[in-house]
């Protein structure tokens, strides 16, 4: 019986570990996960590591070093289904802020011996390097969505991960629009759903953790922020320059005069 369970591997690249911890965070469902899947390779959880190949790989983090740019190909080669988890793996993460600047200048400023630092000029998503079968968004990912993707994989069906805006989640919950009723600069209308409208439900504008929607019209949203809500120019740039800063159209929307160096 044990051998018939699909083998799961969890891989880490440049990231904070928050997304893979979502798997351990499953708590109530963790035993069911372990019953359905053999967690074969998950260094964060266990030092017992089973060799590949793996039926499904969860990949966290972005590619920021020459070493990782090679390693991701090895991961791809021994993975049946490759699912990226989180904003780093799907968009380059917060560390993609380096893409707008000179990374050597950073290493000179931060490290006493920058010659030991072997890093790339850009932080890039996994899909820039290898073929990805499914991208799960979020910073961090939603554990309910992770379970849904794993359930869909196990049952050989399409994951039910809606790609509409966060606004749809607000409206379904009955959350009052913080942009219309309070004038908050909310990224919800251009942000991919998945969090369940967490921030607006707690009276805070959306941070855009799940990245842009397919047809995100950030130019129109930003224009409204400037003209009607009076959002200062530096704040416009900062709003887009977060966890999904390298994902278009957040990339160009955040690249305002005030955020350019």
């Amino acid at each position: 019986m044990k051998n018939t369970r699909p083998k799961l591997a969890v891989w880490k690249f440049a990231s904070c570990d928050g997304c893979q911890l979502s798997l351990l965070d499953c708590e109530d469902e963790l035993l069911a996960v372990a019953g359905a899947i053999e967690i074969a390779m998950f260094p964060e959880a266990s030092s017992a590591m089973v060799e590949g190949p793996y039926d499904v790989s969860l990949v966290e983090g972005s590619i920021t070093t020459p070493h990782d740019a090679e390693r991701i190909h090895e991961v791809r080669a021994q993975s049946g289904t490759l699912i990226t988890i989180g904003a780093c793996a799907t968009a380059g993460g917060i560390q993609a802020l380096r893409n707008f600047a000179d990374v050597e200048e950073f290493t000179r400023a931060v490290y006493a011996s920058p010659e030991y630092i072997d890093t790339l000029g850009q932080s890039t998503p996994i899909a820039d390097h290898v073929q990805v079968d499914f991208e799960l968004r979020g910073c961090p990912i939603d554990k309910g969505q992770l379970l849904e993707v794993l359930s869909a994989f196990l049952n050989r069906r399409k994951p039910r991960i809606p790609s509409h805006s966060v606004c749809v989640e607000c409206k379904r919950r009955g959350t009052v629009c913080v942009m219309v009723a309070q004038g908050s600069a909310c990224l919800g209308p251009v942000t991919h759903a998945g969090c369940g409208a967490l921030c607006p439900t707690y009276d805070r504008a959306c941070f855009g953790c799940f990245g842009p929607t397919e047809r995100a019209n950030s130019a129109s949203l930003t224009e409204w922020w400037r003209r009607e809500l009076g959002v200062p120019e530096p704040d416009v740039g900062r709003a887009y320059h977060t966890f999904n800063t390298w994902a278009e159209p957040f990339r160009s929307a955040g690249d305002t005069k005030d955020t350019q160096r």
């Binding site: 359930s151 869909a152 379904r172 919950r173 009052v176 019209n217």
Partner: protein, 403 residues
């Protein structure tokens, strides 16, 4: 117990709005048994009203202040009503302000509509469990919730009438909607003020009410804070009979009528519903759609705030073990990616085509499909569009481009 309630089906409006406002205080009775009187209920009698509703097993839902807006939620007592509040609305803009009186209904419609009760945003339709004999289907409980809707505005009565036709009007009724709607008691409140986004007068759906309610109230803030009240059904008449009432004075009737006329007169936004189907059909290739798409976020707020939009998605989910599956229905929108997905791709890929689909259906083809416009003039799509796209303005632009 009450007789089996029927679903109210307002006729497609034909009269100009001002006639409607005046006629709303003529007693129009749908059935003979209802006493033909207009009476006055004191503000202080709302406790008695709530008790009468509770005695009949109704869960009273209606307007209350939450998160900077007037939303629809459970009301435990008259204290939960937005006493002394009003709303300021404009394209993409909503704010609450204090009034200088104690009005209970001194505002118009907010982000919610009654559709969230009769057509819930998310609803599990059934479950499957794997058993010895294959899958066993577990249906949801069929007993509908028993709501008393307190504070239903004229445009919202029209919206409920439209949803009645959509969900329960044909041969194949949606059972949860049909049963919830039939069980619901409707207490309408006529508008005596309008927001800047209101245009019910020109849509012939308000601000006065003349059918489709169990009870109708008009708030009068004179020397005495009272409500002019009419029953619209036997159920409503029974409840009214339990409240302390007295005959309305001529002055009170005049004040109520003047309030409704005031609401109609305040409306600056106007639209010509009769001409819209033709305009929509003629505007199919208008360059205006691309211009709207430059501003439209395709975020779906307009459709979800709209009290008549009825689109939903049905999704099947299974758990990790594959032993248990569920089917859910969720609010969807013609602006959502994947909404028009057929084999090979989306029928409407662009925002321009999605907005065109929404507006031409709402104002145009809806008439041929359901016998009335899909728009009731509530203005929610204007207020709750995050970038303030104004349906009235877009119609004017389409008309201007045509002539």
């Amino acid at each position: 117990m009450h007789e089996a309630p029927e679903i109210h089906r307002p006729q497609p409006p034909t009269k100009p709005g001002c006639d409607r406002a005046k006629s709303s205080h003529q007693t129009q009775r749908r059935r003979g048994k209802i006493p033909d009187v207009t009476v006055v209920v004191a503000r202080d009698s709302f406790d008695t009203l709530f008790a009468a509703l509770a005695r009949r097993g109704y869960e009273c839902v209606g307007p209350t202040v939450r998160d900077g807006a007037i939303v629809y939620d459970r009301l435990r007592s008259p204290e939960d009503l937005p006493r002394g509040w009003t709303d300021e609305q404009a394209p993409g803009h909503y704010r609450l302000h204090r009034r200088n009186d104690e009005a209970l209904f001194g505002y118009v419609v907010g982000p919610h509509s009654w559709k969230k009760f009769v057509f819930p945003p998310e609803r599990r339709l059934w479950q499957l469990r794997r058993g010895d004999q294959g899958f066993e289907r577990v249906d949801e409980p069929s007993a509908p919730p028993r709501y008393a809707f307190l504070g239903v505005r004229a445009c919202e009565l029209a919206a409920l009438g439209i949803q009645d036709r959509v969900f329960a009007g044909g041969e194949y009724a949606e059972p949860h909607y049909r049963d919830t709607r039939a069980a619901a008691l409707v207490i309408a409140v006529e508008c005596t003020e309008s927001a800047a986004t209101c245009f019910c007068d020109s849509m012939n759906t308000g601000p006065g009410v003349d059918a489709g309610f169990d009870l109708a109230l008009t708030e009068v803030l004179g020397d005495e804070h009272v409500f002019v009240a009419r029953a619209g059904s036997d159920r409503g008449a029974e409840i009214l009979a339990e409240l302390p009432t007295r005959a309305a004075t001529a002055a009170e009737l005049d004040a109520a009528r003047a309030g409704v006329e005031n609401a109609a007169d305040q409306q600056q936004r106007r639209i010509d519903p009769e001409a819209l189907p033709e305009l929509m059909a003629a505007s199919y290739e208008s360059p205006r759609w691309e211009q709207i798409a430059e501003r439209c976020l395709s975020c779906a707020n307009c459709t979800l705030a709209c009290p008549t939009c009825f689109c939903s998605d049905v999704e099947d989910v299974s758990d990790l073990t594959g032993e248990h599956a569920e089917r859910w229905r969720r609010w969807d929108s013609c602006f959502n990616p994947g909404f028009s997905y057929l084999y090979g791709g989306e029928v409407r890929k662009t925002t321009a085509s999605r907005y065109r689909q929404w507006l031409t259906h709402k104002l145009g083809s809806w008439v041929a499909q359901f016998g009335s416009s899909g728009c009731v003039g509530c203005g929610r799509c204007i207020t709750w569009c995050p970038v303030g796209i104004d349906l009235i303005e877009e119609v004017a632009q389409l008309r201007g481009a045509q002539s």
